[in-house]
Amino acid sequence: MLRITNLHASAGDKEILKGISLEVKAGEVHAIMGPNGSGKSTLAQVIAGHPGYAVTSGSIEYMGQDLLELDAEERAQQGVFLAFQYPVEIPGVTNAYFLRAAYNEIRKSHGQEEADPIEFLDIMEEKLKLVEMDATMMQRSVNAGFSGGEKKRNEILQMAVLGPKLAVLDETDSGLDIDALRIVAGGVNKLKRADNATIVVTHYQRLLNYIIPDFVHVLAGGRIIKSGGKELALELEAKGYDWLLEPAMSNAGA
């Protein structure tokens, strides 16, 4: 589904990603872990098409097409979804309006008919249950005045409504208490299918108790320095990142 090959990306004149290669197949869950400043969030945003990053070399192939050729909205229409670390507040625009607008834009891009407000309410009712959100949330402005947990649940709600093929969750666990974490992870697990894939970006192993990854990759200094199975996350939890970083850094310096 996704093949990243030797990806280099910069913000301004600062190179952040220094040669990332990663392959994600349908049905898989990949965890990207790593210390702060390692480039995890940058990778997530580059996949989603953030205009603030320039890809200087390498490629991203998604569903057989060149993802880097597509604008952010085209990527979303093709099934790429990013759950933001810091969801943006949009005062004055209700969640209901926002979600329906996004849902219909994606349908339109596939030549499908738009859902009218009544049809859309039915779709919403079912999705709200998935993240244990009250219907009144739909009449509130997008993320405005939401608690940290509400914002993250709202991201998963959007994911549920838009039904992406490739979901990238950027630090979705940060700032969540254990109940919110359970709800968010539960939502992600219920959305998992054989024909979609998930990339979970996280600093901590905690989320991976709830969303079990098939593969774990450790990102440091803009490179993947180690890949393994779900047991790698537990090892990182027990030993921290330092044991991996030191040899990697000395290699880089050599």
Partner: protein
């Protein structure tokens, strides 16, 4: 500065036999004093500090005449899109004339008095002498002087002690093609006695696409413990000129809540001035201006903290496209005796085109030492992170920009406490930017 035409017009008005007979004896002297003041002041120029960013040359060059007294052909269905809520008390003026057939205010509580200005001058000259022109000083305000000299019609609202008027009062000032080339000087006097509460909406609507001048003056007395909510909705014709001055005085523990929406007129200037004259008063002055083409809209607010423990809150937002020009000048004066003053002023402008321009000038004069006064002004473009957020959900290009522009404006609209009015303006602003319907 003053063209001879205005002098001829004034003499015609002042010397007419009808004027001699009908007006109370004190009124001609007030008009004469105001007109004399206007002739010596002349129209303001950009050398005047209060008019630095706004040139009224287009108004000076036009020489507007008195409006023709033709009866209106407008019907209620023509006004339907502007009523907001047909259940509100309503006074409709067309080209400055009250149209009783289009109005409905008989359901007001019996002790609330809502009357045309001309009736009040005839029926209660002594009460009117005590109030009219007492707040709206024209010593240094040429447009207020001009209004005082030429005012013909308007409304007087008196809300007695403890009376809470539950249903808003909507005053519509409508102009049609017959207003072309004319000047209209609506006048309003509002006296809310102790503990009284009233919600007032003034809508200025241009239907005929004509070029005309509306120069309104309102005087508002908010008594002790009283509350007045005052909304001004300015949707004049794009070739029209609008000057509006509101002068308020507030009693102990009173609330004056003002909202100014400016979307019409080629050139508009709105002055909202309030005096917090007694302890515990609160002034909330908010507004939104939405401009395009070569429109120019100027807001000047002035809050005078003249007593202890008063609060003022201001939020003005502007969205500017085309070559439009917005001005916000927020003056706050804190008197030496006004300790424990709590003032906050925020002014935000969003520029949608490289040719749009905004001039913003917070002006704080603080002479007390135990006060909390802040102001903040931001001028910007759409937030890139927010744009990316919308794009990442499949909402691209123009749609994303439109939605965020609406969201920017909505922050100001959220301060509107009358739900029907807020929804109406949200709908208008939403449709203006997104060209789709808000549901």
């Amino acid at each position: 500065m003053t063209t001879p035409t205005y002098i001829t017009q004034f003499r015609t008005l002042a010397d007419a036999p009808s004027a001699q007979g009908e007006t109370p004896s004190w009124l001609p002297a007030l008009r004469e004093a105001a007109f004399e003041r206007f002739t010596s002041l002349g129209f303001p120029t950009t050398r005047n500090e209060d008019w630095h960013f706004t040139s009224v040359t287009p108004i000076v060059e036009k020489t507007f005449k008195a409006v023709s007294a033709a009866p209106t052909t407008l019907t209620l269905s023509d006004l339907e899109p502007y009523l907001v809520d047909a259940g509100w008390h309503r006074l409709v003026f067309v080209n400055g004339r009250l149209e009783p057939a289009l109005s409905q205010f008989s359901e007001l509580p019996a002790d609330v008095q809502l009357s045309p200005l001309s009736d009040m001058l005839r029926e209660e000259p002594e009460w009117m002498e005590k109030h009219l022109g007492k707040l709206a000083a024209f010593d240094s305000a040429a447009f207020t002087a001009l209004n005082t000299a030429f005012m013909q019609e308007g409304i007087v609202l008196r809300v007695p002690k403890g009376e809470v008027v539950e249903v808003p009062i909507h005053v519509l000032h409508v102009t049609d093609a017959n207003a072309a080339g004319a000047a209209i000087h609506p006048r309003m006097l509002v006296v809310a006695d102790e503990q009284a509460q009233v919600m007032l909406i003034e809508s200025y609507i241009g239907l005929g696409g004509a070029s005309y001048l509306v120069n309104g003056v309102a005087e508002v007395v908010v008594g002790d413990g009283a509350r007045v909510d005052h909304y001004r909705i300015q949707r004049e014709s794009v070739d029209a000129f609008h000057v509006g001055t509101v002068q308020v005085t507030q009693g102990r523990d009173s609330i004056y809540h003002s909202f100014s929406y400016a979307a019409g007129a080629a050139l508009s200037r709105t002055n909202i001035y309030t005096k917090l004259a007694n302890t515990g008063g609160e002034a909330r002055l908010n507004g939104l201006y939405v401009l395009d083409g070569s429109q120019h809209a100027d807001h000047q607010t002035f809050v005078e903290h003249l007593a202890e423990s008063c609060a003022s809150r201001e939020l003005y937002c502007g969205v500017l496209d085309g070559q439009s020009h917005g001005v916000f000048n927020g003056k706050v004066y804190v008197d030496p005796i006004a300790q424990k003053t709590d003032g906050k002023q925020t002014n935000k402008a969003l520029l949608l085109s490289p040719q749009a321009r905004v001039d913003t000038k917070p002006q704080l004069e603080i002479f007390a030492d135990d006060v909390k006064c802040t102001h903040g002004a931001t001028i910007g473009r759409l937030d890139e992170m927010a744009l990316f957020y919308l794009k990442s959900r499949g909402i691209g290009g123009e749609n994303a920009r439109a939605l965020l522009t609406y969201a920017f404006a909505a922050e100001a609209l959220e301060t509107i406490e009358i739900d029907a009015l807020r929804l109406d303006l949200e709908r208008q602003v939403f449709e203006r930017f997104t060209h789709t319907q808000l549901l």
